[in-house]
Amino acid sequence: MEMSYRFKLAFKLALREMRAGLKGFRIFIACLALGVAAIGGVGSLSEAIKGGLEKDARRLLGGDVALRLTHMPATSKQKIYLAKSGILSEVVEMRAMAHSVAKKKRTLVELKGVDELYPLVGKIEIGGDKSLKKALSRQGGVWGAIVETGVFPKLGLELGDHLRVGEAEFAITGIILKEPDRIANLWSLGPRIMVSSASLPETGLIQPGSQIRFHYRVLLRDTGRIGDWIEGLKLEFPSAGWRIRSLEQATPGLKRFIDYITLFLTFVGLTTLLVGGIGVSNAVGSYLEGKVGAIAISKCLGASGNLIFFTYFMQLFILAGIGIVIGTCAGALLPAVGAWVFNDMLPVKILIDFFPLQLLMAALFGILITFTFAIWPIARARAIPAASLFRDKVAPSNVKPEKVYILYTIFGGVALSAMTILFSVDRRFSMWFVIGAVGSLLLLSLCAMFLKWGAKRLKKQRSTKLSLALNNLHRPGASTNSVVLSLGLGLAVLVAIALIESNLTRQVDDQLPDMAPAFFFIDIQPNQVASFDKVVGEFKGVTKHRRVPSLRGRIVKIAGKTVGEVKIATGAKWAVRGDRALTYTATPSEGTKIVAGKWWPPDYTGKPLISLDANLAKGFGVDIGDTLTLNILGKEIEAKITSLREIDWRSLRFDFAIIFAPGTLERAPHSYLAAIQLPERLEAKIERTVGDNFKNVSIIRVREALKSAANILAGIGDAVRGISIVTILSGLLVLAGAISAGRKRRIYDAVVLKVLGATRTVVLQAFLLEYCILGAATGLTAAVIGTVAAWGVASLLMGIPWYFEILPVLGTILLCIFVTLVAGFYGTWRAMGQKASPLLRNE
C-alpha cells in the first residue's frame, strides 16, 4: 500500500472513529487548552505590555533622545549643541526630605524640577484645575509644587498647605494624577514632588557631589537619523559621561523585569501543560483500552500495525488541535483582559493586539506535549495482537510496544526541553527548571511505584477495609500513577512558592533588621561632616555610626576594552548598566573579607588603585593587575585592581563594589553617606534631630524601605501563586479524569461487595481509606519536591539563608488528602447508589 494512500486511509478511519463524539476526551482537550492558554496568554500579555512601552517610548523617554548625568549638570557648550539639534528640555531629579511647615513632620520624597518646556512629549494630568506652568509658578513669594497624594498622609497636609524642601518653601497647588514620563518605579522610596527647576537653587540642595540626576531630553529636528545623531554626539563629547538612551532603550529596566516575571509565569504555564500531559496520557490510554476490540478486528481484516498507529495518531492530533485552538484563542484574549485589569497599575496602555509568535510557541508546546505523552499509549495500541479478541479471556496479552517508540518519547521530551531553554531570556535558569521538572516527574513516578509495590506487599491485612484499599492501589488499571503525578506536580509548585515566599519574608522581617542599620543618611556635604558626626555621636542610644565619602561613576572600560566589547556574565551586568556608587578609603572597614590581592598601604596616595567585588571580577573576567576605567564627573580614570573582596550584599552593611585608594577622588566634588544603628524606639527622635539640623540631608528609614520591598515581593508572590492555581486546576482535571476512568470498575466492585454482604459503610470506608493513603503519599512527595525546589531557588539562585517552614508543607499534605478524599468520595458515593441487579444481569 503506497504511503500517500496509507495516510489518506488513516485520516479517513480517524474521522470515522471520531463519530463517537468527544466523550472521554473532554479532559484531554481541557488540559491542553488550559496549558496552552496559560503559556500563550502570559506571552501575549507580556508582549502587549512591552508593545505598550514601545508605543509610548517617546512619552516615557520624554523625547527622541534622553541623556542623564549624575552629580553635575551639562556644560553650556553641551547644552548649546543639544539645543541646536532640536528642542531641549532639562529635568532634575533627586531624593530629598520634605517637611510640613506647620506640623513638623518629614518624609523622604522623589523631587523633580522641571523647566517650562516640560513635558516635551505627552501631557501631565493635574488635579486642581491649573496648568503646570501656573501650578509651579511663584505666587506671593512662594513657589508652587504639585505632589502625589502619598505626600498628604505622611506630612499631615492638604491641598493648599505649605511644605518645605531644603531651605525653600512651597505651596501645594495641585495633585499629580499622571506623570507622562514616570515609569513604574518599583523601588521608589517616596512620593513625587514636582517643582519648577527655577526654584531649586533656593532649596540649597544643588550642591557639588550631591546625588542629583540631570536629564536632558531632546526632540530632534531630523528624527530619521537618530542613530547618526547619537554617534555624532559621542564624537563631539567623548567623555561627557552621560548615559544616552534612544527610543529603543526607553524602558530597559522595566522590560527586563517584565521578561523575568514572564519567565516565571511561563514556567508555571509549562508545569500546567506537563500536568495536562499526564491527563493526555491517561485519556489516550483509557480511550485506547476501550478500542482493543476494534484494533484487533482491524488486524483480523488485514490492517497493518502502522495503519493502526497512524489512524489513532491522527485522531489524537485532530482532538489535540481542538484543545490547542481553544487554548490559543483564550491566550490571544488575555491582553484585552489584562488591559482591563492592569491599565491603572502600569505607566502605559497595554497594546491590545494579536501576537502570533507567542501563540505559535504556546501551540508548539501543546503539540510537543501531546506527542511526548500520547506516543507511548498509541504505540501500545499498535502492538495489540489480533488474537486479543479471543485470547485475553485466557491469558491477558502483555503488550510490549517496539523500542523505537521509547526513542520517539525521548525525542519529544528533548524537543520540549530544548524549546523551553532556547527561547528563554535566561537559559541557565530555564535549564534548571527543565532538570527540576524531569526530576519531579521521576520522583513522583517512583512514589507511585513504591506505593503500588508497598500495597502489594502489605495487602494481606486483618482489616478487610485496609485490604480492599491496598488492593485497589496496586490492581491493574489503578489510578495511583495518574493521581500521584497530576496532583503531585501542581502541589509541589504550591509548596515551592509558599516556602520561597516565607523565606523571603523571614529574610526581610526577621533577619535583616538585626544586622542592618536603622537609617541611611545621604548627601551630607563636606562642610557638614564635623557637625553631623557631633550630633550623631552625642545622641544617646546610637550603637554604630559609620560615614564614608560617596560619589558616582560609570564603568566604561574593562581591562582596556570598552564595555560593549566585553562578554559580561549575566550576574554582573547590573554593574555596567548605570552609575555605580564609589568611595575611597585608606584602610579596609571592619569585616572586609579580601579573597585575592592585597589592600594598599594606609599612607598610599599614588596612581589610581581599586579594590573590586570578587563576584564582579569573575563576571567581568578580570583579575588582580587588570584595570577598570570609570567615567567620574566627565573624566575617565583608569584604575588598577589590587584586591578582590567577597561582599555579602544581603547584610545591608555599608559596602561598595568599587573602592578607590586615597589620592584619586578626594578632589572631585562629592558628598558623604552615613549609616547608624540604634533601637527602634529612638528612630523617630534621631530622624527629627538630624532633619532639623541638616535640612539638605535625605534620610532613608531602612525599616520602611524593607517593608516596601517586602510588599513588592508579596505582590509578585501573589501573581505567581494566582497563575499556579491554573496548574492545580489542571491537576484536578486530571484527577477527575482518572477517577472517572476507574468509575465503572469501582461501581462493579461496590455492587459485587454489596452482593457478598459488605455494608455500604465498609465499602465506603475502604474506598476513602484508599484515597487517604493516596493523598498522603502524593502530598508528602509533593512536599519533598517543593522543598528541594524552594531550597534551590533560595540558596543557590537568591543566595539567602534557608529556613524550613513546616506549616506550608503540612498545609499542602492536608490539602492533598482533602482534595483526593473529596474527589474519591464523590466518585464512590455515586457507586454506592448503584443498583446491583442491572449491572449483574448485563455482566
Binding site: R16, R19, S304, G305, A387, A395
Partner: protein
C-alpha cells in the same frame, strides 16, 4: 508470494500442532497435537465441548495465534515465519472471519464496515470500487435498505449479516466462522447459516465452521470433534462432498 493457494488441493493443514498459553495461574495446554487437513472448497464443521480448543485451532489457522509446536499451513503458506504485519496482509488476501459477537466497528455504517477490507487492499482499482462492491454485498445479504445504519441501529441478526457480507466481500479463499449463530435466536440463526452455506457454494470458498450445534455442523461436508485439545472424532457430514 504469500497470497496464492498452492497448487495442491489442501486449503489448510495442521500437523502435530501444540499450543500452550502462559497465564498468571500457570501454563495451559490448549492444543495437544492436532492433525487436520482441509481441501479447497470443502466445508468442515468443528464441534466439541467448551474449552476443547475449537476457537484456538481457528486462530492458529488464521495466524492469530502461533503454534507452540507443529506445522500450520494455510492457503499453502507456512505461517510460522510470517511477521505480525505479514500475517495481517495474509489474512486480508486469503481469509474471511465471522465472529460470534459480530465485531463490527461501532463508529462505521454498515456500508463502511463491509467496505473496509477492500479499502485495505493493495490494488487501487479494488480500493476505488470498495463502496460499490460493499453495496452489492449488502444487497446480496438482504440489507440494501440498511446501508447507512450504524451497528447500534441494527438488530443482532442484521449485524451478523453485515459481518457475513464483510467476510465475503474480498472473495476469500477460506472462511472461518466461530459460532456465527451463538448470539442469535433460532430463526435468525438459521437465516445466517443459510446465507453462509449459500455464499460458500456460490463462491467456492473453503469453510471452517465452529459450532456447539451438532445439527448445524452436520450440514458441512465433514464434521470434526475436538475435545481437550485433540481431535477425538471425524466423520462425514451431509454436505455435497460428504
Amino acid at each position: 508470494m504469500i497470497t496464492n493457494l498452492s497448487d495442491d488441493l489442501s486449503a489448510m493443514s495442521l500437523e502435530g500442532v501444540h499450543l500452550t498459553l502462559t497465564s498468571e495461574a500457570g501454563d495451559v495446554n490448549i492444543l495437544r497435537g492436532v492433525d487436520l487437513s482441509v481441501t479447497v472448497g470443502e466445508a468442515v464443521g468443528i464441534v466439541g465441548p467448551s474449552g476443547g480448543g475449537k476457537s484456538t485451532m481457528m486462530m492458529v489457522i488464521a495466524g492469530l495465534e502461533r503454534a507452540s509446536f507443529g506445522t500450520v499451513k494455510t492457503a499453502g503458506i507456512d505461517l510460522a515465519h510470517l511477521t505480525e504485519d505479514a500475517l495481517a496482509l495474509f489474512r486480508r488476501d486469503n481469509i474471511g472471519i465471522v465472529f460470534q459477537d459480530f465485531h463490527l466497528f461501532p463508529t462505521m455504517t454498515a456500508l463502511e464496515n463491509v467496505a473496509i477490507p477492500l479499502e485495505l487492499a493493495e490494488n487501487p482499482d479494488t480500493r476505488n470500487n470498495a463502496f460499490d462492491r460493499a453495496k452489492e454485498q449488502l444487497f446480496s445479504v438482504g440489507l440494501g435498505d440498511r446501508l447507512l445504519h450504524y451497528p447500534s441501529q441494527l438488530s443482532g441478526g442484521e449485524q451478523q449479516r453485515v459481518a457475513v457480507a464483510r467476510a465475503f466481500i474480498s472473495s476469500p479463499k477460506i472462511l472461518l466462522a466461530d459460532e456465527p449463530t451463538g448470539n442469535l435466536d433460532g430463526e435468525t440463526g438459521k437465516i445466517i447459516v443459510d446465507l453462509l452455506f449459500d455464499l460458500h457454494e456460490r463462491v467456492g470458498t473453503t469453510m471452517l465452521l465452529i459450532s456447539h450445534d451438532q445439527t448445524l455442523a452436520t450440514r458441512c461436508d465433514r464434521v470434526v470433534t475436538l475435545a481437550d485439545g485433540r481431535i477425538v472424532d471425524e466423520h462425514l457430514g451431509e454436505g455435497p462432498r460428504g
